[in-house]
Symmetry: C2
Subunit: 333 residues, 2 copies
């Protein structure tokens, strides 16, 4: 397209919008299921159990080490399908684009989104764009809605039993700190990359174990928020063992400087799994065999002896992990 | 909830966000398929042809005579499924909420959205909320993604033949003018209501006719933009007969004052249908029998004698309807 910046006319349903859709969105996202002229597209899903999920993305800045809002929009939503036990198949995409946004930046972001979709094996088959007046919109917001096929059914909070074991697939807090550093808001810089990635290889590996009870990806609110959800849903206490929780040194350093707790920071490529005590080591072994799971660890247990989220510290003490109230890092996803 | 206005903490994944979701979204949208604690929800769709569509909503003001952004978010997306020949079944909902938004207004909008969903027979089964800093976000943006079941298959632009007839189910431009008047931007006031509504009764009635080739809802860009799409896709010329196109008097009056053309204004409860000449009257009769179709009319034809979008005027002249470039009314949906 000839323009270099988005104008309100790119949102009006006429020629400019058609060019925007054809030359940025349809070009990058081209696939046999995508028909930009159709009101609705057919999905080949018959005879399977279909899962459905949606997520919105408002990350600032739009691009950060390891990813951008486009990769996040694919992995955020497809990871929700993966941890629910499904293989993601289809995505829809909503783009709210601010007037004045650089078309080169938009092109880069949609190209990354298309690449992430190909890597994850999902087709973006429906979409919509809206243009917002300058001053609204923070450049770009995205929403993606995903459809997947579920393989097995006995996965859920209600499957969790007293004595079950808690695992995490890798270090926590990378995404939160990488995005925070990309803002350059505190005069801090670093080489840290976001962990944004498809967790599908991890979830498929775990699904082969019968002792797997439940999985979740610790995004907004981080690992601590997943633990509170487990506690609320099961009535069981959660005890984490601090020395076992993988945290990269640069993440811990930034957290120490700024007073953050990495357990409350968003991850975008990690899985928390609850597994029977008999099979926890099997899941751990399977994860260790995968590139994304090399630092996977058993980090705690659920049991009926208390009803809180507690953390045993390295020096042998115990502290309560409170539910998140104040947001440590807004606009992280 | 105790708060009266949205704060950034309502978007952080912790307790405040949980309260917002439970007390506003889950309360209004409650249905057996909705599980606000699940990453993804199962859909009962096996053995049918599944259709999928998405749409974003940025209308200003958020509330207007005849509807609000919530009713629009249901009807806009489910109407896309309806005109594609499907019965809408499931919706996902993304809300981008501006910090400082009145919670009473949000509650009213989500209640309307829930009511519109019930009336249309769709269940909102997945959702996500994000909170944007004050100054971004225009109060509220919504995106909805819909899933429907298709009844018959031979419907599409490729079905259209030389000589086919164009119908519209009711007066055009009501939504555009009602929203514009609600802005009180030109010192104009009026009693006009938006036409926002489910077109499902209209599309189901038309689907019973074998001569039905194609349907579209004339939203952004209006009737003229649908005609351009028909022209581009088929290579046939489109000739509209101006005196036959239903336009309400107050809509025409406002258009005359401000220099708008109602054929380019958004409708949110109308259907444009292309029908074989033999069956056009049957579709018209069926539509006339429905409350939403009482003013339905045959408005033109497609034929190979030219390759433009032309309009025959009341005084016997012909003018070309150009493709929309400049947006007459941004933020209309």
């Amino acid at each position: 397209m000839q323009d270099t910046h988005i104008s309100l006319a790119h949102g009006n349903g006429g020629r400019f919008m058609r060019e925007l859709i054809d030359e940025i969105f349809a070009r990058h996202l081209s696939n046999p299921g995508l028909d930009v002229h159709a009101d609705a597209v057919p999905l080949a899903l018959n005879g399977n159990e279909v899962l459905f999920t949606t997520d919105g993305f408002t990350v600032q800045p739009l691009e950060f080490p390891g990813g951008n809002i486009g990769t996040l929009a694919v992995h955020g939503t497809t990871n929700d399908l993966a941890v629910a036990g499904a293989t993601p198949r289809y995505l829809s995409l909503n783009a709210f684009i601010e007037e004045g946004m650089s078309i080169a930046t938009l092109d880069r972001i949609i190209a990354s989104l298309a690449q992430a979709a190909r890597e994850t094996g999902v087709a973006v088959v429906a979409g919509d764009t809206k243009v917002l007046p300058r001053g609204e919109g923070g450049g770009l917001y995205l929403a993606t809605t995903g459809i997947g096929i579920r393989h097995r059914h006995r996965l859920g909070l209600e499957q969790i039993r007293d004595g079950d074991v808690l695992l995490v697939s890798g270090p926590v807090g990378d995404h939160g700190i990488a995005v925070m550093l990309a803002r350059e808001a505190f005069g801090l810089h670093g080489e840290l990359c976001s962990d944004v990635a498809s967790v599908l290889p991890l979830t498929l590996a775990a699904l082969e174990c019968r002792g797997l009870r439940f999985m979740r990806d610790p995004t907004r609110g981080g690992l601590a928020t997943v633990c509170h959800e487990l506690q609320r849903a099961t009535g069981l206490g959660v005890t984490l063992n601090q020395p076992d929780i993988p945290v990269r040194d640069p993440v811990q350093s930034v957290c120490d400087i700024l007073g953050y707790d990495p357990l409350y920071l968003a991850c975008e490529g990690r899985v928390v799994a609850v597994v029977s005590p008999e099979e926890a080591d099997i899941v751990l072994e399977r994860w260790h065999a995968l590139p994304l799971g090399s630092a996977a660890a058993v980090i705690g247990r659920l049991h009926a002896t208390h009803h809180r989220v507690l953390m045993k510290t390295a020096i042998g003490g115990e502290r309560i992990l409170e539910e998140l109230e104040d947001d440590p890092l807004p606009r992280i996803c």
